[in-house]
Amino acid sequence: MNFWFAVLRQAGRNLKQTWTSQFMTFLTVSLSVLIFAFFYLIYTNMLGAGDRLNDELRLIVYLEEEPGPAMQMQLRRKIENFDDVEEIIFISKEAAYKRFAKQLGEDSDVLDDMPKNFLPASIEVVPLKGLRGYNQIKLFSEYLASLPGTEKVQYGQEWVERFYYFTRLLTIVVLLSGTLLILTATFMVAYTIRLTIMGRQDELELLKLVGATNSYIRTPFLIEGILQGFMGSIIGLSALYGLFRWIISHFTGPGILHIFQFDFFPPIVIFIIILCSISLCSIGSYTSIRKFLKI
């Protein structure tokens, strides 16, 4: 019989003896992983969607008058003075009219009675890809609004603002659920191991008497913690994957999920979540061993 066979058997005995509290801890860890991973999955998908939206972000500067070539040069210089931009496109009143008519498609005949210059001239500014933060965009739009001859700047402020605040809220929820995971994984496992140790004082005393080494006595408790973390995270993530598949199959029609590309975690993130869960449960287990298992 080797060391690992002996300690695994001992761990099995521990699990069997205190299976009710072990099962409750396992459920708590699974649920914590599920809650954390659920919010984290939404968060990462929102970030991805935000990135894609940012790629298509354009600031439209409506002008009071159509600028001549000299004025265009001046405005271009002014805009580039603030920051480098990806692209600056000047749209004349006529070009705006044509665009609008094209967008209306078959209904473009509603414009027949309208003059060709009823839409304002504008400048379409495509910011650099690095200009991601909401505050940066806001600052840029304020700068553009202060340019002479500017009537209004539009970039879907309300939508961008809501999206930004929702992402911030999600960050807080992810942090809170992460804290919940840390607390449950460490404290619940520590508490269960403590119960096991208390319930097996006689056996531990006997093991010391017959010459069991410290590792022989301690390792099974550590294995319990590792198992709780591993099994808890596997079950939590599997439940989340089930939920993800269900959402995908039920909400793939026109709707918000149709707009956003909704992806599950890549393998590396799954691996990191499992590793974190194992580490947290092992820390809980180790704390109890150090505190209550006097050898």
């Binding site: 019989m1 006997l206 008497l209 017959v210 010459g211 080494t213 022989y216």
Partner: protein, 239 residues
């Protein structure tokens, strides 16, 4: 050489198994259990401790197995100061010491076989060897039919024999037994003593604390009588 191997070699080869020099043990607040005990026990010797209840016999055995620490004095087992050993070194030494105390220290929710096997499991013995050794010991102590019984369901005499079987199961070099025949009839006492004698013949040193004159008066073993924590006499049996 690993510390496990060196412990084993020291216990097998040395001439003196137990060396106690001026050992005292005092309990709070001021109760002296043992006072200035000096004693040498040779390797392979069977040594008897006698004396009235409360004389200090059990305390002496617990000091030898390091379950208690002396207030003063030196205790060496096979040349190792047992109170200075820690961690794995102490564990390996304890693997070579078999103990059966009066409180038995059995796991009542485990079977008889599991209780005996525990002392071999900590030394990572082969499961087949463990199984065979358990059956042999149960056979020798007339407990074969109790193999799968929970120890909590046994009589005190049976529990005593299980504790004794566990103490000799791992072929220890030193066996410490406290009142091994206290709850047993004459024929079972004989079997128990046969078992301990077989261990002695295999080279083990045996220290037995007892009130039972019938076991220490046979043969020419040394018998030490304790009274009020001090050595009252040290004689040879049958003299």
């Amino acid at each position: 050489m690993s510390s496990q191997e060196s412990t084993e070699e020291a216990m097998a080869s040395g001439n003196t198994m137990i060396e106690m020099i001026k050992v005292s043990r005092t309990y709070h607040p001021n109760i002296t259990a043992l006072s200035e005990i000096s004693l040498s026990i040779e390797t392979g010797e069977m040594f008897f401790l006698i004396g009235p209840s409360g004389a200090g016999k059990t305390t002496l055995l617990k000091l030898i197995s390091n379950m208690e620490v002396p207030t003063k004095g030196l205790i060496e087992i096979a040349g190792h100061n047992i109170n200075k050993l820690k961690g794995n070194k102490l564990a390996y030494l304890r693997q070579k010491i078999g103990v059966a105390y009066q409180d038995f220290k059995l796991l009542n929710d485990r079977t008889v076989a599991e209780n005996i096997a525990i002392s071999m499991e900590v030394s990572y013995k082969n499961p087949k060897t463990i199984k065979k050794q358990v059956r042999d010991l149960l056979d020798q102590l007339q407990l074969t039919d109790k193999h799968n019984s929970l120890t909590g369901e046994l009589s005190r005499g049976e529990q005593q024999r299980v504790a004794l079987a566990r103490s000799v199961a791992n072929s220890p070099r030193l066996i410490l037994v406290d009142e091994p025949t206290g709850n047993l009839d004459a024929s079972t006492t004989k079997r128990v003593m046969e078992l301990l004698n077989r261990s002695k013949q295999a080279g083990a040193t045996i220290v037995i604390a007892t009130h039972d004159a019938s076991i220490y008066k046979q043969g020419k073993h040394r018998v030490m009588e304790l009274r009020n924590g001090v050595i009252h006499s040290l004689t040879r049996g049958n003299t």
